[in-house]
């Protein structure tokens, strides 16, 4: 954030203090724009100069943690991943992600999203509980099998897709693109055997059937994930399953233990410099 200020930009921020404000309102703050400044940097500057009570979520500052999803100039984006210069405007309007209740200022209540996510069991479901609890080897998976779900595994659960989805906006029963995309990510993982269990949830009213394929979720995803595609593939899988046409496969088996000669010239770990308890 160092550098000579280029100009002044106005942060047009949605403020809401529960218990104090009856409704959210907008407030303007002028800050000096420096080269490379992101919206997140700008929020820190506003907090430093004018609004110490301003609240938002952020953590990694590098588009990995998914904490700082916000509505920036009308589009859900990551504040840390959006440079003010790329907005091509002297006014930066920042609000909390739509389609969620507001906890405070720019902090949305993401609990409904994570509850739907949890309900769809976003983890490997297998019958070998002992192996999963105490792994002895890896599950075997080919690069081709990895390609089936790889792009969906880039999801950082920022909620931008949920904020952009017109169906989430109108139907509270709909699970939404993030949970559905992640359910498909595990359903299409060759190591997983949980399709039948997830199907119980997905075949009902909260499943992918309400999706209008507007595609906004894929447009706004900051990680380039295509949840709309995941939802269409999921529909295909579920319908083929209903018609008994879905190819069933056993989950990936354990990989063979590596065999060969153990190298003896591997350098030893350095001596500990800190001794802990």
């Amino acid at each position: 954030m160092a550098g000579t200020p280029l100009k002044t930009v106005t942060f047009h921020l949605r403020r809401f203090e529960p218990g104090k404000d009856r409704e959210p309102h907008w407030e303007d703050y002028a800050i000096p724009l420096t080269p490379g400044m992101t919206v997140l940097d700008g929020l820190w500057k506003v907090k430093e100069l004018s609004a110490p009570s301003l609240a938002w979520r952020s953590s990694c500052r590098m588009g990995i943690c998914g904490s700082c999803g916000m509505l920036i100039n009308g589009r859900p984006r990551l504040a840390c991943n959006t440079q003010i210069a790329e907005l091509k405007s002297d006014v930066v309007a920042v609000g909390p992600l739509p389609n969620f209740d507001i906890i405070k200022d720019l902090v949305p209540d993401l609990r409904p999203m994570f509850e739907a996510h949890r309900e769809l069991m976003p983890y490997l479901l297998r019958n070998d509980a002992a192996e999963q609890e105490d792994p002895t080897r890896e599950y075997w998976q080919s690069p081709h099998e990895l390609e089936h779900y790889l792009q969906f595994s880039y999801c950082i659960k920022c909620g931008c897709c949920m904020a952009a989805c017109p169906t989430v906006a109108t139907d509270p029963r709909y699970s939404g693109p993030m949970p559905l995309g992640q359910a498909h990510r595990y359903d299409s993982d060759s190591r997983d055997a949980g399709f039948g269990r997830r199907r119980e949830v997905l075949s009902g009213g909260s499943g992918p059937w309400r999706c209008h394929f507007a595609g906004e979720c894929s447009q706004v995803c900051p990680k380039g994930v295509d949840p709309a595609k995941a939802i269409q593939l999921m529909k295909q899988d579920l319908v083929l399953d209903l018609l008994r046409l879905r190819r069933r496969r056993p989950p990936a088996a354990l990989a063979e233990a590596p065999h060969g000669t153990m190298r003896e010239d591997i350098a030893a770990a350095p001596t500990r410099t800190v001794t802990g308890t």
């Binding site: 169906t167 109108t170 139907d171 509270p172 119980e200 997905l202 075949s203 009902g204 009213g205 499943g207 059937w209 309400r210 529909k235 579920l238 319908v239 209903l242 018609l243």
Partner: protein, 123 residues
């Protein structure tokens, strides 16, 4: 489970409509260009001939059923996006089902009764 089944039927009905409506367009509206079904598909004799054909009767009933199901399922989705409560959703389901079945019964009766009517009028 129910939503998956309803949606699957919705897609199947869409495929049926695509084929049968394509046939309808080819016979009724594009015949001047295609010339596949005689010179005057809209003339009374042609209409009466189709009405007495078992193939067309079955086709009409199938198209009616598919179109009603497809349309009413879509309408149900639109109504559900207004976020009605569980009781109202149930009422919508029952109401649309009854209305759809009534329209289907009426249309089916019309398609089946058409040969007799055509014969009577045609003498």
């Amino acid at each position: 489970m129910r939503d998956r089944t309803l949606w699957t039927w919705h897609i199947a009905a869409g495929a049926v409509i695509l084929i049968l409506l394509g046939m309808h367009m080819a016979i009724m509206h594009l015949n001047q260009s295609l010339g596949l079904f005689g010179p005057e598909p809209l003339a009374w004799e042609s209409v009466a001939e189709r009405a007495t054909s078992l193939f067309f009767t079955v086709t009409y009933v199938l198209l009616l059923g598919a179109a009603l199901y497809h349309g009413f399922y879509g309408f149900r989705n639109i109504l559900f996006e207004l976020n009605p409560g569980a009781g109202l959703r149930r009422t919508i389901d029952v109401g649309l089902s009854v209305l759809g079945l009534a329209l289907f019964a009426f249309g089916t009766w019309a398609a089946i009764a058409a040969p007799g009517a055509a014969t009577m009028v045609g003498g």
